[in-house]
C-alpha cells in the first residue's frame, strides 16, 4: 500500500481544489487550526497547508489548496485520485483554543475560506453563536457554502463584483455583522495577510479578541529553522510551533508581508521554468 494516497479530489474552480488524503494516524490526531507539511515529490518544496477537515472513520484528512505558484499548480495538475504524495507530516502547530465565546465571527477570505471551516464547526459545537463571513472574488469561485451554512447561525457572503451575496470586501461584511450584533465577543480571521490586517483593524476599536492564522514561509515546520518567525507584540515567535494562531491585534503584518517576499524572484523563476516544461511536447 502506498503511503499518503489521494482518495478523492474535487475542483471548486480554476484555482481552488480539494484533496482528501489517506492518513489514519493524522486523522485521529488532528484538531482544528493545525496544518500539515506536504512534499509533492522527492525534489519538491515542503509547503504548509491547513487541515481543512478530517474524518476519523475514513482515516483521511482534507486539504483545500489555491494554485498560486509552482508547487500548488503542479499539485493541481498531478494529484489525481490513486496517486500519492511523497511526504506528508503533521498535524503541526498548536490547535486552536476553542474557548467559550458567546458570539463569534468566523472570517475567511481567499485561501483562508477552507481553514476557517473546522474552527467554525468546533465553535458551533462548543455552543457559540457563529456568524460566518466569507469573501470571494466572484460567484464562480464560491465553494463550501452549504458546509458553512450548516455550521453557522448566520452567513454573510461577500464578492468583489457583487455576483453573489453582498458586493464588497470582507471588511464590509464585518461592518454589517458588527452593526447588527453589539455582543460579538470574538473573531477568527484567516486569509491573506492584507485581509487579516484589515480584519484586526476592524475589530480593534471594539476590543473584540481577534485570532488570526499567520502564513509565513516555512521549511521544516518543526521549530528547527526559524524561517517562519513572526513579530507578535514584543516577541518573535516561530509560527510552526508557537502558532499558527496569534492575537491579530499584536501581529506585525507589515513584517509578515515583507518576509513573504523573500523569494519572489526565485518563485517566479521556478514557476516559469515549470510552465515552460509543461508546454514542451513529451
Amino acid at each position: 500500500m502506498s503511503q499518503f494516497e489521494i482518495v478523492s479530489r474535487e475542483d471548486f474552480s480554476e484555482v481552488t481544489y480539494l484533496l482528501e488524503v489517506r492518513h489514519p494516524q493524522m486523522a485521529r490526531a488532528a484538531r482544528p487550526g493545525q496544518f500539515v507539511i506536504v512534499m509533492l515529490n522527492e525534489h519538491g518544496e515542503r509547503i504548509p497547508l491547513t487541515i481543512a477537515d478530517f474524518d476519523r472513520h475514513r482515516g483521511t484528512i482534507t486539504l483545500v489548496i489555491q494554485a498560486v505558484g509552482k508547487t500548488t499548480k503542479q499539485m493541481q495538475q498531478e494529484c489525481r485520485v490513486g496517486t500519492s504524495l511523497f511526504g506528508l507530516v503533521g498535524p503541526m502547530g498548536i490547535p486552536t483554543h476553542i474557548g467559550k465565546p458567546k458570539k463569534v465571527l468566523c472570517v475567511g477570505g481567499g485561501l483562508g475560506v477552507a481553514p476557517v471551516f473546522p474552527q467554525a464547526r468546533a465553535l458551533k459545537e462548543a455552543g457559540a453563536y457563529v456568524i460566518g463571513i466569507l469573501g470571494f472574488r466572484s460567484k464562480d469561485l464560491i465553494f463550501w457554502e452549504d458546509k458553512f451554512r450548516a455550521a453557522c447561525d448566520e452567513l454573510i457572503l461577500c464578492t468583489n463584483d457583487g455576483s453573489a451575496g453582498m458586493k464588497g470586501l470582507i471588511t464590509d461584511g464585518i461592518a454589517v455583522a458588527l452593526a447588527g450584533h453589539a455582543d460579538v465577543d470574538e473573531c477568527v480571521a484567516i486569509g491573506p495577510p492584507v485581509m487579516m490586517k484589515a480584519c484586526a483593524d476592524a475589530t480593534r476599536a471594539r476590543r473584540i479578541k481577534t485570532m488570526v492564522s499567520v502564513n509565513p514561509i516555512m521549511v521544516d515546520g518543526t521549530g528547527m529553522c526559524g524561517g517562519c518567525r513572526v513579530k507578535v507584540g514584543d516577541d518573535v515567535k516561530f509560527a510552526c510551533v508557537d502558532g499558527p494562531d496569534f492575537d491579530g491585534h499584536l501581529v506585525d503584518f507589515d513584517d509578515l508581508m515583507t518576509r513573504l517576499r523573500r523569494f519572489t524572484p526565485e518563485e517566479k523563476r521556478a514557476e516559469q521554468r515549470w510552465s515552460d516544461s509543461c508546454r514542451m511536447p513529451q
Binding site: G223, M224, G226
Partner: protein
C-alpha cells in the same frame, strides 16, 4: 615495526580554488599507500592513551596494526565493533580534542592521523558487499525517536541484540544533522546513505514524516502500539537568535535554515530542486563553531564574493574543528575576530544592507573559563553585507517535551537522563545525544545511543514486560 616520521601523512584534497565553487568532498581520502605509510607511524603503545581520548574507546592500535598488516577485513571488524558510524566519525570527529589529542606521538611530533585512517578503513568497507542480516530473536519491540546519530546507533545496537526496532523521524529523510546540517563537501550523502542501508539490512525500520508528540503521542507508543521501551534522540535543533535590531529583515537566516534549505532540500541545485536558496555578494556568518564554518564555506560555494566570520571572541576560543578552519582559510573566508554584531542594517526596503559591529578586546576569563570579550568604545563600524547567517548555537527542541507528560528537563531545556544509561524521569524511556547534552558531537551522540541500547537490553531482561 613502527617508523619514526614526525609529520602526519597529509590528506589529499580537492583543489581549494576549484572547491570553493563546488560541493565535491574536500578531503579525497588516503590511497592504500598513504594509509600503509601512516599506519607505520603508530607506536602500538601498551597504554594507548588515544583509546581513552576516544569517547567510544575504539581499540585504535589494533585497527591501525591491521591496516599496517594489510588486513582490511580485520581492521573494519575492529572499528565497527566499537563505533557503528566509522565512515562518518573518521570524517567529522574533532580528533584534535579527542583521540589524537592523547596520542603519545604528540609529545615530540604530530599525532598519528587516527581519523584519516578510520575513514580509510570505513571507505574500504563501503566497497564491500553488505553482509548484515536481520537477527530478530526477541519478542519486544522498541521505538526510537529521531534518526540522528544517537537514534541510528541505538537502533543498530538494539537490532544486533535481537530486538525489532522502529525509528520515527520528523523530517522526510533520516540522518538528523548529518543530513540537514553537515554539507556534502564534508560528508557526502552517499556515505550516510550507505550507513543507513546497513541498518535497514539489519532489519531496522525507519519511518519518516512522523513527529512524535504530534502524529503519535509518546504514551501511545507504549499503550496502543505495544513498544516495550523508547529511546529519545531528538537532538538540539532549536536555533537561537541574538535579539539585536533588524534580525527579522529579509536576508537574515539561522544557520539551520540556511543549511536545511541547502542540504536537506538540495537548494544548491535550485531551480532543478524546488526549494530556493540564494546568497548575495557578501555574507556575514556570526559564530565560529562547525555550524558557522559550514555556513560560511557554503556561502562561497553558492556564489558569494566575500564571506565573513564575525565572532566576538578570538581565534583561540573558536569551537570549529581545526581542519575546517584551515580549509576555510584556504577557500578565502575572511575572519573578523573580536567583532561583536550590534544591529542588522535595513536597506530601506526590508532587506539587509549591512551588519553594524563593534570591536572587542579580551578581558578576564568568564564563567565558561574563556576570556571575556569587552567592547571598545567608539569602535563601531558597518560591514556592508547582503546576508547575515546566525550560527550562535542551538538548544533542544521543546516539541516532544511540551506534548509529553512526565519528561523532566533542566533549565536549558535538556532532557534529564542518567549519565550511564540514559534513563529519563519516565519509566522505560531513555534519551541521549544532543537532546540530553545540548549541542555536542556526533561521536558523543553515537556513544550515548550505544550505551542506552545496552541499558534497554538490561532493563528488559530484568523486568520482562508483558506483551501489550
Amino acid at each position: 615495526m613502527p617508523v619514526k616520521r614526525s609529520d602526519k601523512t597529509p590528506m589529499p584534497v580537492h583543489d581549494a580554488q576549484l572547491r570553493a565553487h563546488d560541493f565535491v568532498e574536500v578531503n579525497t581520502g588516503y590511497t592504500p599507500a598513504h594509509a600503509a605509510f601512516e599506519a607505520e607511524r603508530c607506536l602500538r603503545c601498551q597504554d594507548a592513551a588515544c583509546v581513552d581520548g576516544c569517547p567510544v574507546n575504539i581499540p585504535i592500535p589494533d585497527f591501525i596494526h591491521a591496516v599496517a598488516a594489510g588486513d582490511m577485513p580485520k581492521a573494519a571488524q575492529i572499528l565497527r565493533g566499537a563505533n557503528p558510524l566509522p565512515s562518518i566519525c573518521g570524517r567529522v570527529c574533532p580528533q584534535e580534542n579527542q583521540c589524537e589529542a592523547q596520542c603519545h606521538m604528540l609529545k615530540r611530533f604530530n599525532p598519528v592521523a587516527i581519523g584519516h585512517l578510520e575513514r580509510f578503513v570505513a571507505d574500504w568497507e563501503r566497497t564491500q558487499p553488505v553482509t548484515a542480516k536481520p537477527n530478530i530473536t526477541r519478542k519486544e519491540k522498541i521505538a526510537v525517536i529521531g534518526a540522528g546519530p544517537s537514534g541510528l546507533v541505538c537502533a543498530g545496537e538494539l537490532a544486533r541484540l535481537g530486538y525489532s526496532v522502529t525509528v520515527y523521524e520528523a523530517l522526510h529523510a533520516p540522518g538528523g544533522v548529518l543530513r540537514y546540517g553537515i554539507p556534502e563537501f564534508r560528508l557526502p550523502k552517499s556515505v550516510l546513505d550507505w550507513e543507513i542501508g546497513v541498518l535497514k539490512a539489519m532489519g531496522v525500520e525507519i519511518v519518516c514524516n512522523v513527529v512524535i508528540g504530534r502524529t503519535i503521542k509518546m504514551d501511545d507508543l507504549f499503550e496502543n502500539m505495544g513498544y516495550a521501551a523508547v529511546f529519545i534522540g531528538t537532538g538540539a535543533g532549536l536555533p537561537q537568535f541574538l535579539g539585536i535590531p533588524g534580525e527579522n529583515l529579509n536576508g537574515v537566516m539561522s544557520a539551520n535554515e540556511f543549511l536545511t534549505r541547502m542540504n536537506l532540500m538540495g537548494g544548491y541545485k535550485f531551480p532543478e530542486n524546488d526549494t530556493p536558496m540564494k546568497v548575495g555578494k557578501r555574507v556575514a556568518v556570526i559564530g565560529a563553531g562547525n555550524t558557522a564554518m559550514d555556513a560560511v564555506r557554503s556561502s562561497l560555494r553558492l556564489g558569494a564574493e566575500a564571506a565573513y566570520i564575525v565572532y566576538r571572541r578570538s581565534e583561540k576560543e573558536m569551537g570549529a574543528r581545526v581542519e575546517e578552519y584551515h580549509h576555510a582559510i584556504e577557500e578565502g573566508v575572511d575572519f573578523r575576530w573580536l567583532t561583536n554584531p550590534l544591529e542588522v542594517v535595513d536597506d530601506g526596503n526590508g532587506w539587509v544592507s549591512g551588519l553594524k559591529c563593534q570591536k572587542m578586546k579580551l578581558g578576564e576569563p568568564d564563567a565558561s573559563g574563556r576570556a571575556r570579550p569587552i567592547p571598545i568604545e567608539g569602535s563601531e563600524f558597518v560591514l556592508p553585507v547582503d546576508n547575515v547567517v546566525l550560527a550562535i548555537g542551538t538548544t533542544p527542541n521543546p516539541l516532544l517535551t511540551r506534548t509529553t507528560s512526565g519528561l523532566m528537563t533542566n533549565k536549558k531545556g535538556c532532557l534529564v537522563a542518567d549519565e550511564s544509561t540514559g534513563l529519563t524521569s519516565k519509566a522505560l524511556v531513555f534519551a541521549g545525544g544532543d537532546a540530553v547534552t545540548g549541542a555536542a558531537t556526533v561521536i558523543l551522540a553515537a556513544g550515548a545511543g550505544k550505551r542506552s541500547a545496552q541499558a534497554i537490553h538490561e532493563a528488559l531482561q530484568q523486568a520482562p514486560v508483558a506483551a501489550h
